[in-house]
């Protein structure tokens, strides 16, 4: 790797695997010092808490703790901040599974099968596999981070606008597998989601778009109020409308995943780890994309894709693993290149700078005790989170035994708090109400919310990437196929779109549905 040598010290590039393991071991020992353990535990606990609570994200918690940087020991303080970020990924799945409100945007896709499992009395296995998957994905990703950070950072540098655009288009092909019903409806929702994402100031020119003079819309339509409305509020409306009164099956079937659940989840967890790790390492890509991609792949290769969306444990195991793996590898652009790629990494960047640490190509060489200490703390933190989360499953199950007339006001209240605290503006609550109604009507007319969320997430990235690519190429669309990485993603996207026709599985399913409709 000649380029790598130019960027990193030769000693770093030529490090032997055993030497890396030794560094990781030393880092784990450093992270196991009592003060570091204490700060680490506080971090993962706070992270779980903000992850469970919709709207309260890790960025807010880290921002609140920034003043502590001047008083706390540097490594312990950074261990706590890192703990908040991956702790939030653990907590995010809880409300998705229990009440269909994603605690974090990266847990949106968990709603599809996790909530369905909860309604069937299988909230325990869903929560359990989410915790185990998160632990496995997170821990393996740390090893990946230790061994592959420089190489992946190098790969990330090869991603220009055409590669991003091709990758986003590849991501959109996930729609084929996200949709339970007709593809055209899913496509409509995804396009509508990407149009929603264009509300606000144009990212390249700053021109206001579709704001209608409303101040809050200049910042765009936020993901949190839309998701809480589409999933949480609409679900409450549907449940209240149903005459049966029983939302969750009273009989709870097990608190932990069964052997069969493990058999079904093992491969999705392995795939989710790999996928999440590599997607997370690409600068600027959202953890959410890793979860959607994982779900799409699991559904694509499943022998029973029709069970997805109705409580398939693979639909929980894959994405929940992917989001933790992506959350870990998401540090690669920051630590190896000095690129803060989102609000959380920007805050951590600030925290590192406060302590005189400069993230970038020389960070690992100049501050090895911090780099390896942080990696070691993530190994310990993931174990802490597993120990912390498993006993909580019983408690969460009891929540579902509450009569629904107590539960639904609390769901609405948590939804309101979650949206209000995003920006401290009641306009966000109004957006939640609107999308609650939209979600209710969508479900009535068999339109699915997940493709719309995918459009909302991918829309801004896709638009910026396409426009920048066209500016780069002076209007030539060939730019998307004459660069190797972009061309590879385009071919993959085409394959994903055409493969159902080749296998005839989806085609057959659609024909049956059309016959039933007629």
């Amino acid at each position: 790797m000649p380029n790598c040598r130019a960027v990193f010290s030769s000693r770093f590039c030529e490090r032997q695997p055993l030497e890396t393991l030794n560094f990781l071991f030393q880092g784990t020992l450093a992270a196991a010092a009592p003060v570091n353990l204490l700060y680490g535990f506080a971090g993962v606990l706070l992270g779980t808490l903000v992850g469970v609570l919709p709207g309260l994200g890790p960025a807010g918690a880290i921002a609140l703790l920034l003043p502590l940087a001047l008083h706390a020991p540097p490594l312990a303080y950074l261990i706590m901040l890192f703990g908040i970020t991956y702790g939030a990924q653990y907590g995010g799945s809880t409300t998705s599974i229990l009440v269909n409100i994603p605690g974090e945007a990266s847990s949106v896709i968990t709603c599809l099968d996790g909530y369905a499992m909860a309604r069937q009395g299988r909230a325990g296995p869903a929560l359990g596999i989410a915790a185990f998957g998160s632990f496995i994905g997170g821990t393996l990703a740390i090893f990946g981070l230790a061994f592959l950070a420089p190489a992946l950072a190098e790969l990330g540098l090869h991603f220009g606008p055409p590669e991003y655009a091709a990758l986003m288009l590849f991501g959109l092909t996930a729609l084929v597998y996200l949709a339970h019903g007709p593809m055209d409806k899913a496509l409509l929702m995804a396009l509508f989601g990407s149009l929603l994402a264009s509300v606000g100031l144009d990212p390249l020119t700053g021109t206001p778009r579709f704001t209608f003079g409303i101040l809050i819309l200049r910042d765009g339509v936020g993901l949190t109020p839309v998701v809480i409305g589409l999933f949480g509020v609409s679900e409450v409306l549907l449940n209240l409308e149903a005459k049966t009164g029983e939302v969750f099956q009273n009989k709870v079937r097990g608190l932990l995943p069964t052997l069969q659940d493990w058999k079904d989840s093992a491969a999705p967890i392995a795939r989710g780890t790999l996928l999440g790790f590599f997607i997370g390492a690409i600068p600027g890509l959202n953890v959410v994309i890793a979860t959607f991609a994982s779900y799409a792949i699991e559904k694509k290769i499943s022998k029973h894709p029709e069970k997805f969306g109705t409580g398939a444990i693979e639909g929980v195991a894959g994405p929940e693993t992917a989001n933790n793996a992506a959350s870990c590898s998401g540090w690669i652009p920051l630590l190896s290149l000095g690129l803060p790629t989102g609000s959380v990494t920007s805050l951590i960047f600030g925290a590192l700078m406060i302590h005189g640490l400069a993230p970038g190509p020389l960070f690992i060489k100049n501050s090895p005790e911090v780099f390896w200490g942080l990696l070691g703390s993530m190994v310990i933190g993931n174990a802490m989170l597993l120990i912390l989360n498993l006993p909580l499953i019983g408690l969460w199950i009891r929540v579902l035994r509450l009569p629904y007339f107590f539960l639904f006001p609390l769901i609405i209240l948590f939804g309101i708090i979650g949206t209000y605290t995003v920006s401290g503006n009641v306009g966000e609550v109004v957006i939640t109400i609107i999308f609650g109604l939209v979600g209710f009507l969508m479900k009535k007319f068999a339109y699915e919310p997940a493709p719309m969320v995918l459009g909302l997430v991918i829309g801004p990235l896709l638009e910026t990437a396409i426009r920048r690519s066209l500016i780069m190429s002076r209007g030539s669309f060939a730019v998307f196929v004459n660069r190797p990485i972009a061309a590879a993603f385009m071919i993959l996207a085409l394959f994903m779109l055409l493969s159902p026709l080749l296998t005839r599985r989806r085609l057959g399913q659609e024909i049956i549905e059309k016959l039933e409709e007629n």
């Binding site: 409308e241 107590f406 609405i412 209240l413 605290t421 007319f445 426009r467």
Partner: protein, 150 residues
């Protein structure tokens, strides 16, 4: 008229409106795409799909139905009205007071519980939510008329 026809027509009109609005934002050129370029493409695609659905909707039976019972609609309207009033009053009355009234309203009006239970539940939730979110998590929720007390 069949529901699918109505919905597809709504999609088509929406696409038409959005494509005109996007066009007015300036499409630019392929070499220099303007702010309306991407929304215009998305709106156009919505329009095409909606048109196909509209053409395909003829002769189909409606697959879905909306709720018809008055009491069902009443519950849905109450939930939405409760949230809207909460949002309207949140910054003037404050989080704790609004939460108390919202919880009491939902339990009494929607769940048809006894007054004592509704008020007791509402008080407990408002108090615990205030302690947890405002005090412990410092979640920046408005205190409103109880500013001096809390």
């Amino acid at each position: 008229m069949k529901k699918e026809l109505v919905i597809s027509t709504i999609w088509l009109l929406l696409a038409l409106y959005l494509s005109v609005a996007a066009y007015q934002l300036s499409l630019g050129s392929f070499g220099r795409p303007g702010p309306g370029f991407f929304p215009f493409g998305a709106a156009l695609a919505i329009g095409v799909i909606a048109l196909f659905r509209l053409l395909g909707a003829h002769g189909k039976k409606p697959a879905t139905t909306l709720a018809t019972s008055g009491s069902e609609w009443r519950k849905i309207v109450c939930v939405i009205v409760g949230m809207a009033v909460y949002a309207f009053l949140l910054e003037s009355l404050g989080f704790a007071v609004c939460t108390f009234f919202l919880m009491a309203f939902y339990l009494k009006i929607i769940a048809l519980q006894r007054w004592q239970l509704s008020l007791g539940f509402a008080f407990a939730v408002a108090l615990l939510a205030h302690i947890f979110f405002d005090r412990l998590l410092n979640a920046q929720l408005p205190r409103g008329i109880l500013e001096s007390l809390l």
